[in-house]
């Protein structure tokens, strides 16, 4: 099951769509884990002949399936961080008309979106589709540290150790949701952690 129906939320929360092939001479697809399935859903030989895929497997075995689509360029990296120099270089050399497709986890889409926007693409022109884990990339509003792949609410900040409440308040600039201390007024009174959407 790689698709998830997100509940309705505040306006700040990103909304993801469904990828569709758009006209253009060059296509950049950035995906992690089950995001590979969204690429496979729209892949055609014509589209793949003009496509650069950047894929982070996160322990899945989709790499070979994507390579079998025969994209113009295929790169598989060990982590998102490891792929950033490549993403930046591709965007630096790109021309208007480049179509950007982001798919997989929210953390990947958010961070890659930030690179694409910094390179000059309006955020509304970048396609996204969520697949796979619903874990969130969280920023602690107190110490500013980022904790990746947060699955429970509340959770413990990986940097300062505070107990943080998982908010739907999202920052495009940080590509992260906001985590706020849940027991500031009554230290130690921390609800039992549960899944973010439970």
């Amino acid at each position: 099951m790689s698709k998830f129906e997100f509940p309705a939320s505040i306006k700040s929360r990103p909304v993801y769509g469904t990828l569709e092939a758009r006209p253009g001479k060059h296509h950049l697809m950035i995906a992690d884990a089950e995001g590979a399935e969204a690429i496979m859903d729209i892949a055609t030989p014509d589209l793949m002949a003009k496509t650069h895929i950047i894929f982070i497997s996160r322990g899945t075995d989709y790499g070979d399936k994507l390579r079998a689509l025969n994209p113009a360029i295929f790169y598989e990296g060990p982590s998102y961080a490891a792929s950033v120099p490549r993403i930046q270089r591709v965007l630096q050399d790109a021309h208007m008309g480049l179509q950007v497709y982001l798919t997989g986890t929210e953390g990947l889409m958010g961070q890659a979106m930030r690179e694409a926007v910094d390179a000059g693409i309006p955020h509304t022109a970048i396609q996204t589709e969520h697949r796979g884990s619903v874990a969130r990339r969280m920023q602690c509003v107190h110490c500013k540290g980022i904790t990746e792949d947060v699955e429970t609410d509340p959770f413990v900040c990986a940097h300062c150790g505070l107990n943080l409440f998982v908010r739907d308040h999202y920052s495009r600039r940080l590509a992260a949701y906001q985590g706020v201390c849940i027991d500031a007024e009554d230290p130690g009174n921390v609800p039992e952690p549960k899944g973010i959407y439970e």
Binding site: P23, H95, G120, P122, A125
Partner: protein, 320 residues
């Protein structure tokens, strides 16, 4: 009072540029400073021509930071309703006019890494102020300017002298055409297009950009529509409880104003959306000419933009 705030100005220069275009310089009557504006802004000039008051928008072409004076360039339209002819023939140095505060519906997107400007004919005017703004900020821009002939190429000499490497001029009568596909293809990521000129040119550029996969948000355009004359018709204004005859040479908005009803407006050219008016009842056909409403809204018979659109038929009742 509808529209932007007003400024009283005196015409201090009237400079014919060529057979069709004349430049006017306005300075404030009270000797004070004018507001600064942003490149691409326009002002609405009030013209009292006998019984008719015309309010026509013209792009400001002076330096946006120059608070001593505004300049506009007006192309004479012998077929139009007379606004440009009035300025050309009736307005002279020393005359006083009322103009609006600057309003910008064609501003630069300062997130752009490069500004690609495409102008046709008198559509050059907003770019003149945008270029001055960008030069001050060391912005990255280039201009492609198509005009009918050397004789009618307003500001070609000025532009090519001050910016020889950034300005490209194309003369229709020498069969020079912008090589649009090659111009758009290969522009660096972060380039925004700005196009101002005749409708055909705007449609051409927007269509080609869409074909090449440019985001809609990176393509900006401005086309001022002058209200076109048409058959007279009658309109009932429900809130004001007035019945107004719209003459052949006046717009629906002008007729509403003539009846003493204070209707909202800003651009008076079918672009800004300010004058959008709800239709309560009608029997007949709308002649929609604006860029504001969507096609389905045009078809719905529920809304009209009275600055440029007209009506033909028996009954028209507006929520005004």
């Amino acid at each position: 009072m509808s529209g932007a705030e007003k400024i009283h100005v005196r015409v201090t220069e009237k400079t014919p540029l060529n057979a069709l275009v004349t430049r006017f310089r306005f300075e404030p009557v009270d000797g004070g400073l004018l507001p600064t504006f942003s490149g691409g802004a326009h002002t609405v000039v009030e013209m009292k021509d006998g019984d008719i008051t015309r309010l026509n928008p013209y792009s400001l072409m002076s330096d946006p930071y120059d608070q001593d004076a505004y300049t506009i360039s007006v192309r004479r339209d012998d077929e139009g309703r007379g606004g440009s002819l009035f300025l050309h023939n009736q307005v002279d140095v020393g005359d006083e006019l009322t103009i609006s505060y600057p309003v910008n519906l064609f501003s630069l997107d300062l997130r752009a890494k490069k500004h690609l400007m495409i102008a046709g004919g008198i559509g050059i005017t907003p770019f003149l102020s945008q270029i001055k703004q960008l030069d001050r900020a060391h912005g990255n821009w280039e201009l492609h300017y198509a005009c009918r002939s050397e004789a009618l190429g307003s500001y070609v000499d000025y532009l090519t002298t001050t910016h020889p490497n950034d300005v490209n001029v194309y003369y229709d009568d020498q069969d020079q055409v912008i090589d649009l596909e090659n111009l758009l293809d290969g522009q660096p990521l972060g380039t925004h297009i700005y196009v101002c000129g005749p409708k055909g040119m705007i449609d051409w550029v927007r269509g080609k950009a869409a074909d090449l996969g440019w985001p809609r948000e990176a393509v900006h355009y401005e086309e001022f529509l002058a209200p076109q004359p048409g058959k007279p018709f009658e309109v009932k204004l429900a809130i004001s409880n007035k019945v107004v005859q719209v003459g052949e040479q006046e717009s629906l908005l002008e007729a509403i104003e003539r009846a003493g009803v204070d209707a909202p407006y800003l651009c008076r050219g079918g672009a800004c959306g300010m004058c959008e008016t709800r239709v309560i009842d009608y029997a007949g056909n709308f002649i929609h000419r604006d860029h504001w409403l969507e096609d389905d809204e045009h078809a719905s018979g529920e809304k009209i933009m009275p600055c440029v659109s007209r009506f033909e038929g028996k009954t028209l009742v507006l929520d005004r």
